[in-house]
């Protein structure tokens, strides 16, 4: 496999893939073929993603200024290119958790969250991502329809509840309620706590 330097080396396996797997398949196959092709074609991939490793990828990730799937003429965003690069690199879990836990770079956290959703076991997905539902920083999203603002908590919520995020079909996971029924997950802690009640009483006061 190593005779191929470019991105396709991990894909050129003629059905004999022996590398690390995610959900039982070659991780690169988590991104559908058509988008893979578009990533390989994109300038960002060719110019900025060549020869990256888990550490140098950080330099790129902190420069991200928006997330999203495809834009304009179905061009993939740098966000998607880096997510794909991560799938290629297969960084250890601690590194992904570090991407998520740092507080300075929100787009790096978004990238980590997206990658975690793609590759982690479903119980882990909920356990790792749910704490970030209380992060309400704004993210720029670039899609086919143009630009918009989405908050981090909305992005995380989409990752946990939707089938497709950033134009990528996410691996299926059971819903939170199902996992609670199976006792694989504890009921979610109330992050609002007493605050939630406060708002209700405030609302009544306003009426």
């Amino acid at each position: 496999m190593s005779h191929l330097v470019d991105a396709k080396s991990m894909l050129d396996t003629r059905g004999l893939y022996e590398g690390p797997t995610v959900h039982g398949v070659n991780p690169l196959l988590l991104i559908e073929k058509i988008i893979r092709e578009r990533i390989f074609e994109s300038l960002y991939w060719k110019e900025h993603c060549f020869g990256l490793n888990a550490a140098t990828l950080l330099d790129r990730a902190v420069q991200l200024t928006y997330i999203g799937g495809q834009f304009a003429n179905q061009r993939p965003t740098p966000f998607l290119c880096l997510a794909f690069k991560l799938l290629q690199l297969q960084p250890p879990k601690e590194i992904v958790l570090f991407y998520l836990s740092q507080t300075e770079f929100k787009y790096l956290r978004a990238l980590g969250a997206f990658y975690a959703r793609l590759t982690f076991h479903h119980v882990e997905v909920y356990k790792t991502l749910e704490p970030y539902l209380s992060d309400y920083r704004k993210l720029k999203v670039r899609g086919q329809a143009g630009w918009r603002i989405e908050c981090m908590d909305e992005f995380i919520d989409d990752l946990l509840t939707k089938d497709r995020v950033c134009d990528i079909a996410l691996p299926r996971i059971p819903s939170r309620a199902q996992l609670e029924d199976l006792e694989e997950l504890e009921p979610r802690e109330d992050v609002l706590g007493s605050e939630g009640e406060d708002t209700e009483t405030e609302g009544e006061g306003d009426d």
Partner: protein
Amino acid sequence: KAADEDGEDEIDDTDDVDPTAERAAWKLRELKRIKRERDALEAVEKEREEIERRRNMDEKERLKEDLQYVAEQREKAKEERGKMG
């Protein structure tokens, strides 16, 4: 590269411009999520109850209820006939 950034400057992702409003907006979203979850749970519960209720009826009662339901639907269709959707 300039063309690449088309329109990016039109939106602003600066945080903490108005922390109270941002936090309030988040709280609203969080409450909505909690409500969504609760509603989904209730819907499941309701369906379970309905199934249980039907199971506890005997054949005649079930038939009677079905016929009544059909009659109601027919009545409704009659009323709506000739009206614009």
